[in-house]
Symmetry: C2
Subunit: 449 residues, 2 copies
């Protein structure tokens, strides 16, 4: 691997130029801005690599998925898939950027720009480490497949459809996920899974207009209906919907051991949020187990009636709540949505309408999977430190659409400001991330020989 | 009274001119616009009447209360007080007015303009009927006192202070309230009371910023805290705060009889709101009893986290609810606020902060009070129809600050669009309202001879 690492080092400026090219091209999926142009740029980069790219389509107005493949001459029976995305978050608020979001700017060893980290740095990294293999070994350690979507920042809303239409594009022995890197203490962190999600909106309606609150003596108030319906969903930390926890897979012994070892910066998180304690004074292992494996039910938004200053005596015509249920293996959002509906009906809340806006299953890879062991071993080699292992991120992604074991590793760090103004990539980590992923693929291949 | 009525009839154009003069002067208390100028106009009108007016003051930035008094030569031992207000609602939305709000315009027998009904028509009416007595009888039937405030449209927020500083200005044998008139079926309606109010805002806070909802596994969600706290306040139609109903005065036999007779346009209200039924299918007497005498707890507003389109996975830093409790005699908002605080504390919601923004007691006059009997009898004379009697409006006002019996009567009608664009007074009712009030005062004096 020395030649590969040397190639990565001596070509890092070219890699950075490629990243700048992508950052310069806005690709804001939330606004439908520049997606096709960016997909075309990515397609051309794959073409330059000899990866026979294609733009997959799933219907009008849906952003294309860019795929490519490079066959291994030495090891054609194993396939690694790289999942990344070429879309980015909106750059707003613009006034908080120190340099324009779509003019990539290098400062203090960092490249600034929208997408400079999430996820264009990782996407370019995958391409450039592939180039390193091809230029030095004239081969890749196993077959490489690339799947780059353009709707990750809006919840990968059509990736299910792509999976249905192009199942082959999703198949591989293992998958390298789109994010990863070092933690706040500069330890490489191997993440083995993501939580799932069920996102719904509950709406209670009554009159066709807001009424004077004096009528509350006999006109139903949808804000009360909503409050009572919400109250029926959760008591303390327990979700009250019958059967909600039926399919929760218990932690394996191995997972518990990893969770015990995984360092969670409780104090820093509390400080950052300005809070004195977590729910019920939770600490240590309990917090970490919750982070990794607790199904949650979160009110993300409440909206009804008068919200301005002072008092207004109004009886609102409707009330709405946005709710995010985080799921764990093996909970199924479709099944749970049915349980939610049945529960509200049974509790007498048939008047509350439910809009299902997002559903994804959780995914978790065994720490014993070859790709997981490879990522850990590679981290020790590249960073010369023992990695920390996170059994599952508390966040969500479409990992479940890939049936193979998957690890999330890369060149990120905790202050890359993904989704925020002044998003950036540390150039040293950008390079190290490429090496980590290259070494992981190499080790993965070695482990299975 | 024939001479008085004739005078009112033959001087109606002069009365209308006086009303136009007041309407031309904006006096928007919500914006602090034109209040002193309007108070001065009113003071001059009182002066022209010989009512020795004064502008009472309760502190800087507080709109003055204009008072005046005319002693009766024939009956100096009885005093009637007229409570009105010279401030108006903001005229917005301006584009919906068919004529400019502060340019009084006569069309189809109506005078249009902001304040043309609420409350400048009533205020001018009181002055002009006084003039009618003075010009025809060279006396008034009993002492007349006038109390015209300038903050009614912003909740009479300083009237308590005025009452404390100038108790004498509030004392009388009976009070004629600022509104009244005929119902949708053109029946004169005598209103004998108003509900009280306790308006609070509940706020739950936790972190110093919104967090990613993945942290919900152990970071407290103020939106849940608020929902649970609200849920503890009310179940179905029952307010659960201990002692809430302790001071509720039961209906007297007389009141029940009046409520039975009072016609409430259930069908029209449902149609107007676009609803099929009232809470629990309530009908008839039950609805009317609730309108008049049920203490309510209304969520007027809910606000937390993300309220835009689609889904955002956010753990809100705070959640707020605005709550309007309507009160009935003899509930005390100060006492109830304490009970609310104690209840939330006892239920474990000490983290919820309570902001008290408005408190007024209810007020109700006995149908046997001379002023009530006088208003009913006068209605029959002036309108040649038996009046309907409303034991209490479901709305609120500072009636409780006047310790004397009080009736709400006047020249209004159900389509006067008070608080809305194209506010107007029907000129025929403006005249009839003056006669009704004049006849009421006359009858009140007669009854007590």
């Amino acid at each position: 691997m020395k030649e590969v690492f040397d190639y990565i080092d001596s070509n890092k400026d070219r890699a950075l130029e490629a990243l700048k090219t992508l950052v310069r091209q806005p690709s804001v999926s939330a606004k439908g801005e520049g997606l096709r142009e960016c997909a075309e740029l990515v397609r051309r980069m794959l073409e330059d690599l000899g990866a026979s790219p294609k733009l997959l389509e799933a219907g009008e107005g849906i952003n294309p998925v860019v795929v490519g493949e490079i066959k291994s001459k030495s090891n054609p029976k194993r396939t690694i898939l790289f999942y990344n995305h070429y879309d980015v978050q909106p750059p707003e608020p613009l006034e908080l950027w120190e340099s324009p979001p779509f003019e990539p700017t290098v400062k203090d060893g960092k490249l600034f720009g929208r997408g400079a980290a999430d996820d264009k740095a990782e996407l370019v990294g995958r391409l450039k480490l592939t180039e390193a293999f091809l230029e030095t070994c004239k081969d890749v350690p196993c077959n490489f497949k690339f799947l780059f979507e353009g709707e990750e920042e809006i919840g990968s809303i059509h990736l299910k459809d792509y999976r249905k239409k192009y199942p082959n594009a999703f198949s591989a022995d293992s998958v390298i996920w789109e994010f990863g890197g070092i933690d706040a203490k500069e330890r490489p962190e191997v993440t083995l899974g993501v939580k799932g999600i069920l996102y719904v909106e509950l709406t209670a309606k009554n009159a066709n207009r807001d009424a004077h609150s004096s009528l509350a003596a006999f006109v139903e108030n949808p804000a009360w209906r909503l409050v009572w319906a919400l109250n029926s969903l959760k008591k303390g930390e327990k979700i009250l919907i019958p059967g909600w926890y039926d399919d929760v897979r218990p932690f394996s012994k191995n997972e518990i051991e990893l969770i015990k070892k995984w360092p969670y910066p409780e104090r820093e998180v509390k400080k950052e949020l300005g809070i004195k304690q977590f729910i019920g004074g939770m600490k240590g292992l309990e917090v970490k187990k919750a982070y990794v494996g607790k199904p949650t039910c979160t009110i993300c938004g409440l909206d009804s009636g008068y919200k301005g200053p002072g008092s207004k005596t109004v009886l609102p015509k409707e009330a709405r709540a946005k709710i995010d249920f985080r799921l764990v293996p093996d909970q199924d959002p479709n099944d749970l949505e049915k349980k939610l509906r049945a529960h509200l009906r049974k509790k007498g809340f048939s008047d509350i309408s439910i809009t299902y806006s997002e559903g994804e299953r959780a995914a978790r890879t065994s720490p014993d999977a070859p790709i997981a062991r490879a990522a850990m071993k590679a981290a020790s080699i590249v960073y010369e430190r023992k990695p920390v292992v996170l059994v599952s991120s508390a966040g969500t992604g479409p990992m479940y659409l890939f049936d193979s074991p998957c690890v999330a590793i890369g060149g990120g760090y905790s202050e890359n400001r993904a989704h925020a103004p002044n998003e950036n990539t540390r150039i040293d980590l950008f390079v190290k991330g490429m090496k980590w992923v290259a070494e992981t693929v190499n080790t993965f291949t070695e482990l299975q020989k």
